[in-house]
């Protein structure tokens, strides 16, 4: 199988990298073009990465307990995912939401929720990654910090911005492209100003590619989005060096390990050259991108769930060799749910075994100079770059979004993956080879299949809170948000932050923004 269409050779030789120029194409780790890594030997963070695991279930308090447990087990950051209502910017007491509250992530809809979520978490020492609608997550984190006396300037973490692809890829917020892009740009500008250590723009290629895109498609779309957002921020008059250091990339890691390692080396080089040569960035921090990884959930299987522990371990080892800044392993129960406690512990221990016992972080870019890895790095860089140019040549990126161009790519990717597994062209142990009868396939299955109910109590809490609020204050804050949305050049972030401070819910604020665009505040009003 050649997932990204790179024809493999059986053996690589020096002439396969004959055109490679060390200074120009590789450089030392921590040196332009950063192919060999963001940090040089001896620099802070060299050879180490932030160990974290995706978490979030039920109410903010319950998720807070998960955070504390993970930190107690040695996590160096938290990564919070919202339940489906939260991801859609809907409140838990919306009629469509009750069955889904807290089952696939944490329920968050107001300032108090963010306060409870981060209660007792040392936000000045650990990083908080938000897999949530970014503008609301940044506003929530900012207001919660204010409420608990933490200086927003010390906050570290990241927020996923997905203005181009989110709506087509599992994160629909029922907002038009124009509004989504505005929220993205406004919240990056806001965060750069107010939370300067926070990565306000995490380009997440994980979620777009885990529907079956190959590495070239994954990174090409990621670069198309980074370039579009960068162009628009620059057009607003922001110097590129003001925000580029706060861009990070969260990539996927499937099972073709060398391809994934070469991909990361290729994008570091591509990104550095692009920022310097096309956008004129000068600050070295603008050129050396921060790469974090979420290992592929699509590579994990419902059959023989214990095999997923092995998959997570080899992927994590590869990513450690690639020199990433942050790592989340998709856990063995991924096929069924967001991670259970047992799965969290196994994933943390996997990272720790690799970090503490293997010595993999001892040498920077240990695979540098491998004829195969260098050749594959060159080839992937070339292909990713060509695909970016091809897409941008087709037309205005915003129009491509609206025309469903990217949606079509996602559809084809999933279909291609499904076919490859069906035909056996892509071997998946336990699925199309080395299959076990269900009666024998019991190891870890009980844990993996464990479930819990939607959090009805939390829905009740929100309902009671809603009726007890200061009505006129809420109304006026929502009116301000609607007014901001309706005003072409207005910054949306002050209105969003103000509305959260004034006890508005995220569902209400999103509704006010929609209303500012002449849409029904409730996306399900017609239903």
């Amino acid at each position: 199988v050649e997932p990204a269409g790179v024809p493999p050779r059986l053996v690589y030789r020096p002439h396969d990298v004959a055109s490679l120029d060390y200074e120009r194409d590789l450089g030392d780790p921590g040196e332009f073009p950063f192919t060999r890594g963001r940090r040089g030997p001896g620099q802070n963070g060299a050879g180490a990465w932030i160990h974290r695991e995706l978490s979030g279930e039920g109410s903010p308090q319950r998720s807070n307990r998960q955070f504390h447990e993970l930190l107690a087990h040695g996590a160096l950051g938290v990564d919070v995912i919202g339940d489906t209502p939260t991801m859609a910017a809907l409140d838990p007491d919306h009629p469509m939401c009750a069955p889904a509250v807290g089952t696939g992530g944490v329920s968050l809809c107001r300032k108090q929720d963010f306060v409870e979520l981060f209660d007792g978490i040392p936000l000045d020492r650990i990083t908080a990654s938000h897999s949530l609608p970014a503008a609301f997550a940044l506003a929530g984190q900012y207001t919660a910090a204010g409420a608990t006396g933490v200086d927003p300037a010390v906050l570290r973490g990241s927020a996923i911005q997905s203005p181009l692809f989110g709506e087509d890829c599992s994160y629909a917020t029922f907002m038009p492209f124009h509004l989504r892009m505005r929220l993205c740009l406004d919240s990056i500008a806001f965060s750069t100003r107010e939370m300067p250590r926070f990565h306000a723009y995490l380009e997440d290629t994980y979620f777009i590619s885990d529907g079956g895109l190959d590495v070239v498609e994954e990174m090409a779309l990621g670069f198309v989005e980074i370039r579009e957002v960068t162009r628009r921020l620059v057009a607003r008059g922001l110097p590129v060096d003001a925000f580029a250091p706060r861009i990070a990339i969260l990539v996927n890691c499937r099972m073709d390990l060398f391809e994934e390692i070469a991909k990361i080396r290729a994008i570091r080089r591509l990104y550095a050259r692009m920022m310097r040569d096309e956008f004129g960035a000068q600050d070295p921090r603008s050129l050396a991108t921060n790469v974090a990884v979420h290992t592929s959930g699509l590579t994990l299987t419902a059959a023989q769930p214990i095999n997923n522990v092995v998959r997570g371990a080899v992927q994590a080892l590869a990513m450690a060799m690639a020199g990433v800044q942050g790592l989340e392993i998709s856990t063995f129960d991924e096929a069924f749910r967001t991670p259970s406690h047992a799965a969290h512990v196994v994933a943390m221990r996997t990272q720790q075994v690799i970090a503490e016992e293997t010595g993999v972080g001892r040498v920077a870019d240990p695979l540098g100079g491998s004829w195969y890895v260098e050749s594959l790095t060159d080839e992937l860089e070339r292909r990713i770059d060509a695909e970016v140019r091809r897409i941008e040549a087709i037309g205005d990126v915003g129009e491509l979004v609206e025309a469903g161009f990217f949606r079509e790519l996602f559809l084809k990717g999933m279909d291609r993956h499904a076919q490859a597994v069906q035909t056996g062209a892509q071997r998946v142990v336990g699925v199309n080879c080395h299959v076990m009868p269900p009666a024998e396939d019991t190891l870890l299955r009980d844990v993996a299949e464990e479930r819990f109910e939607a959090d009805g109590d939390h829905v009740e809490r929100i309902r009671r809170w809603r009726t007890a609020r200061d009505g006129p204050r809420v109304e006026s804050a929502l009116a301000a948000a609607q007014e901001a949305a309706a005003t072409p050049d207005a910054d949306l972030m002050p209105a969003i932050v103000g509305a959260l401070e004034d006890d508005c819910s995220i569902g209400e604020i999103a509704g006010a923004l929609r209303a500012g665009y002449g849409l029904d505040p409730d996306p399900f009003a017609a239903a």
Partner: protein
Amino acid sequence: MSQRGRIVVGTLGLDQHEVGAMAVAQLLMRHGFEVVYLGRFNTPARLAAVAEQEDADVVGVSVHSWELAAYTGELVDACHAVGAAVVVGGSVLTEADERALRSRGVDATFGPYARDDLIVARLDELVARTRTGAIAAPDGGDEGALAGRVVIVTGAARGLGAAYAERLVREGGAVVANDLDADELHELADDDRAIVAAPGDIADPTTAPELVAAALSRFGRLDAIIANAGALRSGTLLRIGPDDLDAVYAVHVRGTFLILQAAARHWRVEAKAGHPVAAAALTTTSSAGLFGFLGESAYSAAKAAVIALTVVAAEELARYGVTVNAIAPSARTRLTAWLGDGPANAEDPYAPAHVAPAAAWLVSAAARDVTGRVFEVGGDGLAIADGWRSAGSTALPRGASVGDVGERLRRLVAEAPAPRPILRADVPGQARDPLEDETTGRGGTLTAAP
């Protein structure tokens, strides 16, 4: 209405994971279904309303979120009320989920990496049911009697075997179909992709193990066998030769023996490994084997041998969780050409399809407690046959003379009820009496193993 079926596809509630729905839509279109794609954020009412408006056969919901459970009852009621079947598929479904969904009326469920061909076969079946109005019937949510069971059927290219295979698949099972006639077999398997064609001579000792291996490699399990292959060399005792006898025995007795043995060896391994076995074997005898058939001496003897084999196997394999029964079908097949052509419709009491539900039940999980029995199936009736037993007895003194024993035997004959006469092809206008046909009859005609 589209020929193969029209299917509404979407996700429910806030389940945002749309790529699964999109991929399923692609798959269905590739197989000739018409897809009405509704994307995300549907309610049960919307899916059903669109199904009604578009005259769809099936509503398919792709799931990646547990919230589905909250909508299941409403979804099933709304869709069945407009005559559409409900199918749910998704990578988060566990086997327990699938059972729960089906028990709540969902017509079919598919878990992670469900095989395309099984999905398509099941949808074909549901479209057929929808179009006969069966979906709206009270038992519309009933799951197939053979759901999840894998069955080897020998002699499956046509006649009874083909009817069995089709019925088993319709009931949710999967079939490894064996026959000498590879062409016919592949045609059957092409029509229905839950059927795998495995051609070969069942009398060859290598074939039966290959069939078992095919079931395991293709479907991952083996739950039942139906030994149905048969061959006919008609002729009175005076007409047929020893080769004819061997040919008939090879298929009926040796073939049945070999497939029983190969399957039983697999089940014994499973049972010894501690895996619960709920397996079934169904052999094929005939009224000829039960009662004798005029002009079919070899065939009658072979079919009687199958009965003995069956009852012994039932006793021997019970400890491994295997039931063994025999069926004596009455149907129009190449072995019963004397029956003539039937009315060629579903009303025909001698249609092979008329026998199929009985065979399906006997290899289903529902028949776990039935073993060592012989059933007569076909025409308008079902009967259970019973074996030879004493119709009278008397003492046999030591040293008795020939004359003395003769007397005793004569008395037994006089006192016993008259024996059941053997059968003869007496359908008016359809057959000749083989005894009047000794020189020109059908003797020696081989009807190849169907």
